[in-house]
């Protein structure tokens, strides 16, 4: 196995107590394998299940024991078979012993790789850890676990345990659970092992890291307090968005008989003087330009090179400040983590001293960073302490980018105190709100924090991989509906709601909202939306009036029909605006370009007028008409001027639209709407 390949053994509890969550375990594992097929297709995977009726593993055959542990698959390169396999886990019949299963998994890894592949061997245990483990032949369970853990550490095997306990019944198991948790903790302190406790299926899906990314440092170098005092640090990304895979474009142009067709699509950029010209400008005849006000300033690559802002790699401390000076919403980007260079003990100490003292006194550090030489810009950011809870993990800092002066737009907003009192809650309403904020609690002390980001999977990715799998079986399969498990992410928890029904009801009762009756036209859909959960929710977003052909542009061919269709669209507020603007442009085009199409222009003007009266937009029309008149005068377009003077076209007066500032008598007099002179 080459570098950067992983050997993974999934150790899955399929005992009776797990049956209810096995579908979610299957989902999580299948996602993991799917991603391996796409991103890490040389990774190797084995599967061990325990709690099965039968026994089937090498250790049992060689030395006996290890009952009810079955190797579903030996370690092999990931393939479609295993991806399929993991979706049909057997349902076991007995309570399995997770220690036995772990040993079987570990044995497989050791036999397969020996001492090689340090750190690339992984055991992943998913269990409820609620069943008793067998006593070892000699010594205590603690001794046994410590021995196994040390063996793992020595072999460079990593372990992660996901303990899923949603609805444990009765207290009979309490002692067992306590013991098991203790044993799992022993793993953590003796090997590279971590245990994640989850309570909901959603967290279970989120707890398994399905995408393996090799961590790469962004920066290795000095954190400079001043030129004489430097701390050696490494910087990694702590948060980076996982996106959908980049899908390639596909060409179906090649004839089906062409066996060697690559079906690839190439993107070509042509640079031309004008859109019509066929002449293409060679790369060396192009120069980059930047907009500066009205001008576009050309800059040659040499100029950029010699003049640009130059940076030197490094992290420099600017100072410390109180944490309250840095409001949380100023964090600009994804987050980095700054860890001390693991080989430099003194640096580990220095980071530890500063981080702990920062936490103690509620301070943060402001630093200026250039991650690599020649980087286009420096960043200013804040270091916040990440004091480790585990003894064997060094302390570190989180790094967040802060905005520059240019990035902030300071708009003033009315102070809440100064709003009219009818807009403010009274005491009773405030009490109701307090109650809601208190009781709609997602982090109750006794239970798991619900929707913790660290355990919440991305629903879109989940859905994509599910769809991909379906499509691989049948090309025309339909998009599956949203997975039920993800309802907890998109909607309020029905249990939480029903427990707090009276609070919800009184909140609804205390804060009545109503549509603004003065608001005319579109966009009244706000309140009309059905409560969530209705199945047509997705559809409703995209289909407003399914039968209507949607016009979104006023074309040259049938401008009047287009305009009328568009102006009456109600699915978005800005259609009216768009329609009017486009119609105006079209009229100007007609007027400016062709002299013989005066009649068409006239028709369009009349249609625009009608539309503006209907939509009560007199100003739009009147202003435009004044403008049009001026243009006609300037260009001496007599045939149109005629219509003006014959009062075929008039301004929209008050009687037709209340918003108009044109009195009825003057509606034909748009020409004289000039500034009154000062009487002097």
């Amino acid at each position: 196995m080459a570098r950067n390949r992983e050997g993974l053994v999934l150790v899955l509890d399929v005992g009776p107590a797990m049956h209810s969550v096995l579908p979610d375990v299957e989902k999580a594992c299948s996602m993991l394998l799917q991603k391996k097929l796409i991103y890490n297709k040389y990774d190797e995977v084995g599967i061990v299940v325990f709690g099965t009726e039968e026994t089937g593993n090498e250790l049992a055959r060689e030395i006996g024991g290890y009952e009810n542990v079955t190797v579903l698959r030996n370690i092999r390169v990931v393939d479609e078979v295993v991806a399929e396999h993991v979706k049909q886990l057997p349902r076991g019949t007995v309570a399995g012993d997770f220690l036995d299963a772990l040993i079987v998994g570990m044995d497989m890894l050791i036999k397969m790789y020996g001492n090689a592949q340090k750190g690339k061997k992984r055991l992943c245990l998913i269990t409820n850890a609620a069943c008793p483990t067998k006593d070892p032949f000699e010594g205590t369970k603690d001794d046994q676990v410590s021995t196994i853990a040390m063996k793992m550490a020595a072999e460079g095997i990593k372990m992660e345990s996901i303990v899923m306990r949603s609805n444990l019944s009765g207290d009979a198991h309490e002692r067992v659970i306590e013991e098991n948790d203790h044993l799992l903790n022993l793993f953590s302190s003796n090997a590279i092992a971590k245990t994640v406790n989850v309570e909901s299926p959603l967290s279970l899906l989120g707890s398994l890291k399905t995408r393996r990314v090799a961590p790469v440092t962004l920066f290795r170098g000095d954190l400079e307090i001043n030129p004489t005092m430097k701390i050696k640090v490494w910087v990694y990304k702590k948060v980076a968005e996982e996106r959908l895979p980049t899908l390639k474009m596909y060409s179906d142009k090649a004839p089906p008989t062409d066996k060697f067709a690559k079906h690839e699509v190439k993107i070509d950029y042509d640079y031309k003087v004008t859109a019509e010209s066929t002449e293409v400008i060679a790369p060396e005849e192009r120069i980059k330009g930047f907009r500066y006000g009205r001008q576009v300033i050309p800059i040659s690559p040499d100029q950029i090179e010699t003049l640009k802002f130059k940076t030197d790699k490094g992290m420099k401390l600017l100072g410390f400040t109180e944490a309250s000076n840095i409001l949380r919403h100023y964090y600009m980007k994804d987050v980095n983590i700054v860890v001390p260079d693991p080989s430099k003990e003194k640096s580990v100490l220095a980071v530890s001293a500063i981080a702990r003292e920062m936490k103690q006194t509620n301070m943060v550090a402001i630093v200026r960073c250039v991650w690599r030489n020649g980087q286009g810009n420096a960043v200013v950011g804040v270091l916040t302490p990440n004091v480790s809870e585990r003894d064997d993990t060094p302390d570190s800092f989180y790094f967040n980018v802060l905005p520059f002066a240019e990035d902030v737009r300071e708009f003033p907003f009315p102070s809440f105190n100064k709003l009219p009192s009818s807009w403010k809650p009274d005491e009773q309403q405030q009490a109701v709100a307090d109650n809601l904020v208190k009781m709609l609690d997602l982090a109750p002390s006794a239970k798991e924090e619900v929707l913790k980001p660290d355990l919440t999977p991305n629903p879109v990715l989940q859905r994509f991989y599910e769809y991909l799998e379906l499509k691989s079986k049948s090309t025309d399969s339909a998009l599956p509906p949203m997975d039920e498990t993800f309802k907890r992410l998109i909607e309020q928890d029905p249990e939480l709601i029903s427990n707090n029904k009276s609070i919800m009801d009184s909140f609804r009762g205390s804060f009545e909202v109503k549509e603004n009756p003065k608001l005319k036209k579109a966009s009244k859909r706000l309140l009309r939306d059905k409560p969530s959960g209705s199945d047509d929710e997705d559809n409703r977003m995209i289909t407003y009036e399914p039968n209507e052909k949607k016009i979104d542009v006023v074309g040259d061919a049938n401008p009047i029909q287009d305009f009328e269709a568009m102006i009456s669209r109600r699915d978005k507020t800005d259609w009216t605006e768009k329609a009017i603007t486009q119609m105006k442009n079209l009229i100007m085009k007609l007027v400016e370009n062709c002299t013989d199409e005066g009649d068409k222009a006239l028709e369009c003007v009349l249609a625009l007028r009608k539309g503006c009266v209907l939509e009560q937009e007199p100003k739009q029309f009147n202003e435009f008409l004044n403008h049009l008149f001026k243009v006609c005068q300037e260009r001496k377009l007599s045939h149109l001027l005629e219509h003006f003077t014959s009062k075929k076209i008039t301004l929209i007066p008050k009687s037709e639209a209340a918003d108009s500032d044109v009195v009825d008598e003057n509606s034909g007099d748009f020409t004289v709407k000039q500034e009154p002179m000062i009487e002097s």
């Binding site: 003796n190 995408r211 430097k230 996982e242 596909y250 690839e264 190439k266 640079y271 005849e285 500066y292 009205r294 003049l307 802002f309 401390l317 600017l318 100072g319 949380r328 919403h329 987050v335 860890v339 693991p342 080989s343 003194k346 640096s347 530890s352 810009n377 420096a378 480790s388 064997d392 060094p394 802060l402 905005p403 002066a405 990035d407 737009r409 907003f413 709003l419 009818s422 807009w423 709100a433 904020v437 208190k438 997602l442 929707l451 879109v460 990715l461 859905r463 090309t475 998009l479 992410l489 309020q492 928890d493 909202v513 109503k514 549509e515 603004n516 309140l527 929710e537 997705d538 603007t581």
Partner: protein, 621 residues
């Protein structure tokens, strides 16, 4: 900030908000700066930043505008502006009115987008003002001249450009005269006041807003009630709010203008579903977004005219041009799985665009590493749904009181995200509002986005070194010494951006020298060298490193470098020269080739052929 010429290749998923950036570009603003140039503006002074120096009100007004012009050209280059002085000796305006001078530079309309030349010449306006424009009170008792009236008229005429539906139109009026008609005979005063107010009202009726930036005398506060409250149409409620400490200092004025020049733009209208049957209306504002140098326009290097860029998709098999939308594929299980663009967008659509409340958590649950991109500011609106503001304020207060934040699901981004709504109380200082009241929406990462780095650095069973009491004490002393007392988040200008625009300005004006820009982000060397600071750092260093001047002793093994060295031992395994002669280098593996390259300090990048050629060249020497 990378100058990325390949911006066009950007992933389609990237930056879902870019759409509203563009939308913003399209909507523009027309501004007229009206500056009172009466002698009183020159004779009145304010204390300046530097002690013992007084600055005239005129200087304050002009410097503010100069600053504002620069930010226009950078951030909002579509806006059109005009600069207009009144109470001037010379006149220059289309209406030919006395006492009004519209300042402009060649190759530019009176109201137009700012140009480099405008900025340059306006920077020097104070030197040439007396010669070219001159100051002269326009309102004198025995004539019926009314320069304020004329100024409003000229400004309004300038603002006739553009439709009031698609553009914001505003006037900024700088003056220190709170009673322009004060020394007139009572009958004339009434008449002049009436006509001027009528003029202002006409202006406002046309959808143009008038904003006043008054400057106070050191000994006498600008009294807005005398005249201007009627002109700008304030009622008595608003009066008390209207800038309590108007224009005392240059800095205040700059702040005021900076805040007011930017029109408030709603980035998104959001429906906030609190529970089934109760939804309120919110507006989302992008108060924090990284400023970037703007996109690249390709120019024809001989004419400097913009080049039309055409993108075409070409099938590599047949050379045919493909039409949008093009199918996508994902290789999976030895087949190519096809997706149409429509299908992909359906996959991403998992909920409505609404913001759904899910519950509340204590603020301590919001970890420092839960961040992905800039937050969005939320403020309620009663425009469509009456009662929204009340419900919002109630929740806002409770959340601040109970130190909790709301968790919600927001469908308005791709992909939809879990968000934290953090209530922010209003913070005010002398200069005005520092933090507006409302909620900040922070986009939370999913489990898939968070990486386990800590784990990577733990050594099982081996306790990580922790700081001792003494070291903590020294660290504490260090932190106290290096404390930035009144640090504010956005005090640094972006050095690369400043540089970029300095370059543009120099090229635009054909100047040989680019004006130096200061990098404010560098540490304060002077402060760092203060003896007390140096001592605190020295003490901390001593407590960590001891007396050892060589700072670091390596505790762990240098695994990586050792491995590399081990590799080097093998390089005697092959006779590369012999292999090269016989052309057998290609039989070696890339790893083996790299062994040679490493041993000879040659670059390791490239494909196998490249590596072989590199070795051949090296041997050839």
């Amino acid at each position: 900030m990378e100058l990325d010429p390949d911006d066009v290749f950007r992933d389609e998923d990237e930056d879902p908000e870019s759409e509203f950036f563009q939308e913003k570009e399209a909507s523009k603003e027309f501004l007229v700066y009206l500056i009172d140039a009466s002698p009183k503006m020159f004779s009145s002074t304010c204390p300046s930043e530097e002690e013992d120096k007084q600055e005239s009100h005129f200087h304050i007004a002009v410097s503010c505008i100069a600053l504002s012009l620069k930010s226009h050209i950078i951030n909002r280059s579509n806006d059109e502006i005009a600069i207009c002085f009144f109470n001037t000796r010379e006149k220059k305006n289309l209406q030919d009115l006395n006492g009004v001078y519209v300042f402009n530079v060649p190759e530019r309309d009176c109201i137009d987008r700012p140009t480099a030349r405008l900025i340059k010449e306006f920077d020097l306006i104070e030197e040439s003002f007396d010669k070219d424009i001159g100051s002269q009170t326009g309102i004198v008792s025995d004539s019926r001249e009314n320069s304020l009236y004329s100024a409003l008229w000229v400004a309004q005429a300038l603002l006739r450009k553009g439709s009031s539906k698609t553009a914001d139109k505003r006037m900024f009026l700088f003056t220190n005269e709170d009673d322009p008609f004060g020394n007139m005979r009572i009958s004339v005063k009434e008449d002049m006041t009436r006509t001027t107010l009528q003029r202002a009202k006409d202006v406002q009726d046309l959808g143009i807003s008038i904003e006043l930036l008054p400057l106070s005398q050191p000994d006498k506060q600008f009294n807005i009630t005398l005249f201007y409250k009627d002109l700008i149409g304030l009622n008595s409620d608003e009066l008390t709010e209207f800038m309590p400490s108007v224009g005392q200092k240059l800095e205040d004025m700059k702040d005021q203008l900076k805040k007011r020049v930017l029109a408030k733009r709603i980035a998104k209208r959001i429906t906030f579903v609190i529970c089934d049957g109760l939804s309120i209306e919110l507006n989302g504002y992008a108060l924090l977004r990284p400023a970037i140098p703007g996109s690249i326009t390709w120019l024809d290097s001989t004419t400097n005219l913009p080049v039309k860029v055409e993108r075409s998709y070409i099938c590599t098999d047949t050379g045919a041009i493909m039409q949008d939308p093009i199918q996508r594929i994902q290789p999976y299980k030895n087949q190519n799985i096809m997706f149409t663009v429509e299908e992909l967008s359906q996959v991403k659509k998992i909920s409505t665009g609404h913001l759904r409340l899910l519950g509340f958590k204590p603020l301590s649950c919001l970890k420092d590493y839960y961040n992905l991109k800039p937050s969005t500011f939320l403020y309620p609106s009663d425009k469509e749904v009456i009662g929204s503001t009340r419900a919002f304020i109630a929740l806002h207060r409770s959340m601040i009181q109970l130190e909790r934040f709301a968790v919600a699901f927001y469908g308005g981004t791709t992909p939809p995200r879990l968000v934290a709504l953090v209530a922010q109380d209003e913070i005010e200082s002398d200069g005005g509002q520092v933090e507006p009241p409302g909620m900040n929406m922070i986009y939370l990462p999913y489990a898939n986005d968070i990486r386990d780095i800590d784990e990577l650095h733990s050594k099982p069973g081996v306790a990580a070194p922790r700081a001792s009491e003494d070291q903590l004490k020294k660290a504490s002393a260090l932190m106290r010494r290096l404390e930035l007392k009144d640090f504010s988040v956005c005090q640094f200008a972006n050095p690369a951006l400043q540089r970029h625009y300095a370059i543009l300005q120099a090229i635009a004006l054909d100047e040989n020298e680019v004006s130096e820009t200061r990098d404010e982000t560098l540490p304060d060397e002077e402060g760092m060298n203060r003896p007390a600071v140096v001592k605190a750092i020295e003490n901390f260093k001593q407590s960590i490193y001891g007396d050892d001047p060589d700072e670091e002793s390596d505790s762990g093994a240098k695994e990586k470098s050792r491995k590399r060295k081990a590799g080097n031992a093998d390089d005697g395994k092959y006779d590369y020269i012999e292999l090269a002669k016989t052309g057998k280098l290609k039989d070696l593996t890339v790893v083996e080739l790299k062994t040679y390259l490493t041993a000879n300090n040659l670059p390791l990048g490239g494909k196998k052929e490249v590596l072989i050629n590199r070795i051949l060249t090296h041997i050839g020497k």
